[in-house]
């Protein structure tokens, strides 16, 4: 017996994952033209985490993410045209070309921003959650970061304060096992990432295998707890990036022993797995209709980016200071 609400959510999650996958595939296709004259940190392979977590959020909830932030931006509902134009460095971009791929923002949907300094947005997310709590504003904060960020002091200092003040924040650690080419085992002392959060009294849960339905379930439980005021939660989401740390390349040759690892993750691709599931639930035609809508929006976004002008030179001095 299908739960119609749940299936609607799953379809929506599929749309998000397919969108992220296709946007980044188009970035790869366009990259050799050098129209995107900036670094890109692709999320292909990691779509399920952002899609599953953001499925439980509303516009009153806010997200902070990282330079590998396309997935979180899109999953939170960030404007697609503005993102593509931002990657092109155009005036139609979400930051009028001043941010680029690593600095996406869409305040209208609660996508506060992405940062290129590892772990640096974690305290900001905590501070935002502090403001929500003390001013009794609705909504929670979700903070995405990689497992490398848990090496940083700012992570630990932030965990402590979030727990101390019982703040409404979900920490989502996307553990893709690598900081560039440095494996997590080579950097991590102690019993694991969850233990790092638990050391501060923050309930933590590790979701293995990257299954999108497992992630949906875990995120629902954690976010539900945060919404009723029980303080911060931590999710360690095992995942894997299929491409290089930065750029569209295949970095198998640089990552020791990753050949079989990468193949196994590709074999359990969650975009494909969810597509198969949808074929059984809503049917292939309906699934293709979801995809078709994404393709139309994506083609329009690329056209928008192509057609958008570059910002005029005088804009270089705009917004150094807020008014």
């Amino acid at each position: 017996m299908l739960n119609p609400d749940f299936e609607t959510t799953v379809t929506s999650v599929y749309r998000t994952m397919y969108l992220i996958r296709r946007v980044e595939q188009e970035i790869i296709r366009l990259y050799p033209t050098d129209k995107i004259k900036s670094p890109v940190h692709l999320s292909i392979g990691q779509e399920a985490v952002a899609a599953a977590v953001c499925a439980h959020l509303t516009v009153r909830d806010v997200v902070f993410a990282t330079y590998r932030g396309h997935a979180a931006y899109l999953a939170k509902g960030g404007d697609l045209n503005a993102m593509m134009a931002e990657l092109y460095g155009k005036a139609g971009g979400c930051a009028r070309g001043k941010g680029g791929s690593m600095h996406l923002v869409d305040a209208s949907v609660g996508m506060v921003g992405t940062s290129a300094i590892v772990a640096s947005a974690i305290p900001q997310a905590v501070g935002y959650a502090f403001a929500k709590k003390v001013r009794k504003r609705p909504g929670i904060v979700v903070n995405f970061f990689g497992e490398g960020a848990t090496d940083e002091g700012a992570f630990h200092e932030s965990m402590n304060f979030a727990a101390l003040k019982a703040l409404p924040i979900l920490f989502v650690c996307e553990n893709n096992s690598y900081a560039i080419y440095s494996r997590v085992e080579d950097r991590l002392a102690g019993p694991g990432l969850c233990a790092r959060a638990e050391a501060y009294g923050i309930p933590a849960r590790r979701i293995e295998g990257g299954g999108v339905l497992d992630l949906l379930d875990a995120a629902a439980e954690a976010i539900g707890a945060i919404r009723v005021g029980s303080g911060p939660r931590f999710l360690e989401c095992e995942t894997y990036r299929w491409h290089d740390h930065v750029g569209p390349g295949d970095d198998r040759q640089y990552r020791t022993g990753c050949e079989a690892e990468l193949d196994s993750w590709i074999a359990t691709d969650q975009v494909a797995a969810l597509a198969e599931r949808l074929d059984r639930t809503i049917g292939e035609a309906a699934r293709r209709a979801v995809e078709q809508a994404v393709e139309i929006a994506l083609a329009a976004a690329i056209d928008f980016a192509e057609d958008s002008p570059y910002p005029p030179e005088q804009e270089i001095f705009d917004h150094v200071f807020a008014q």
Partner: protein, 355 residues
């Protein structure tokens, strides 16, 4: 409420800070104070005493010893629309905040093309005297002057510290607010009502036609003392307090130098790549080809600050060294020698810590 003679009311520098914060917190519920020890019995040299009792524990609270994250947490609260005032008992600890201040706070408005503002005040106290030593005496205002997106102010008088702090709290940008520990006991006339001292406007404290002395923070006090010594020798010193270092009112300084044709910059900091270098450079860029003038700089000696008193005394510029430098600018190195007895400033001698 302003008393009939409020324009003659006298407060100390520390009391003026306290009043500015209290008035702004009463005016705007988004304003709050966070920092190590702000709600303890000493209340940050009395500047934050009683705020948690008046406004609640969420608006004046102690924080973990975590400068890096606590700065980011302040930025995050500012992104959410609050107006945090962060307090550091010594500016030396701001080095632990550099990533958040430089990479994050200074960039939020620009990097996201105006989508965000960071109305954050970072109060930083410079220590001196009675054994502060190498790590409790440093002044890093020039580090922050270097970064577009940050404002830096270093008010000297009780009047200016109140007005600048209110302006900083109301500003929608991160402001590094430099307070010198030796200024805390100084008294001055402070209006009771809330007022702003706008940034980017230097203050000419004395008029003189022979030499322009630009002094920063506590060095303003020493420069004024030097001005009295110079007056005894018939030298008119124009002492200028920039008040705000970023933005910097170079026009007022350059206009003075155009008249005096002698510029002495006295920083409460090191010379190399410092505020004094910046001020001199900007004056040269403005006046070169139009006016010739002589320049000299004084500041911390190029050493870490020594703890022991006899060495610490020669580490800082003094009224005496300032007066001698100005004298030399006016009369040249070949001028008759001028012997001035070293006069230990009251605030230095009287300071007995413990912190």
């Amino acid at each position: 409420m302003s008393s009939p003679n409020s324009d003659e009311r006298v407060l100390t520098y520390a009391q003026a800070i306290a009043e500015a914060i209290q008035q702004e917190m009463a005016r705007d519920p988004d304003v709050f104070v966070m920092g190590q020890g702000v709600d303890d019995a000493k209340g940050m040299y009395g500047t934050t005493l009683g705020l948690h009792e008046e406004f609640g524990a969420d608006r004046n609270f102690d924080v973990p010893l975590a400068e890096d994250a606590m700065t980011g947490i302040g930025i995050g609260a500012a992104l959410a629309g609050l107006r945090p005032i962060q307090v550091h008992q010594r500016m030396d600890f701001l080095l632990l905040c550099m990533n958040q201040l430089v990479n994050m706070a200074a960039k939020q408005s620009y990097m996201f093309s105006g989508a965000h503002a960071v109305p954050l005040v970072v109060r930083a106290v410079i220590g001196r005297s009675w054994g502060q030593g190498a790590q409790h005496s440093q002044a890093f205002h020039s580090y922050f002057m270097h970064v577009p997106g940050l404002k830096v102010v270093a008010p000297t008088t009780p009047h200016d510290v109140k007005g600048c702090l209110i302006a900083a709290i109301r500003d929608n940008n991160p402001v590094v607010f430099v307070e010198h520990r030796m200024l805390y006991g100084f008294k001055g006339i402070v209006p009771e009502e809330a007022y702003e001292v706008p940034f980017g406007q230097a203050r000419r404290l004395t008029a003189g036609s022979d030499v322009t002395i630009v002094a920063i923070s506590h060095m303003v006090v020493e420069a004024l003392r030097a001005g009295h010594l110079l007056a005894e020798r018939g030298i008119g010193a124009e002492v200028i307090d920039p008040v705000s270092l970023a933005p910097l009112d170079i026009a007022t300084i350059a206009a003075s130098v155009r008249r005096t044709r002698r510029l002495l910059v006295v920083d409460n900091g090191w010379l190399s790549c410092g505020a004094s270098a910046e001020i001199v450079s900007q004056v040269v860029e403005r006046l070169q080809g139009e006016s010739t003038f002589r320049v000299k700089r004084l500041g911390y000696l190029a050493t870490p600050c020594p703890t022991t008193r006899p060495l610490e005394q020669i580490f800082y510029p003094t009224s005496r060294s300032i007066a001698l430098a100005a004298h030399e600018l006016v009369h040249g190195a070949g001028a008759p020698t001028w012997t001035i007895a070293q006069d230990d400033p009251r605030e230095i001698v009287e300071f007995k810590g413990p912190f």
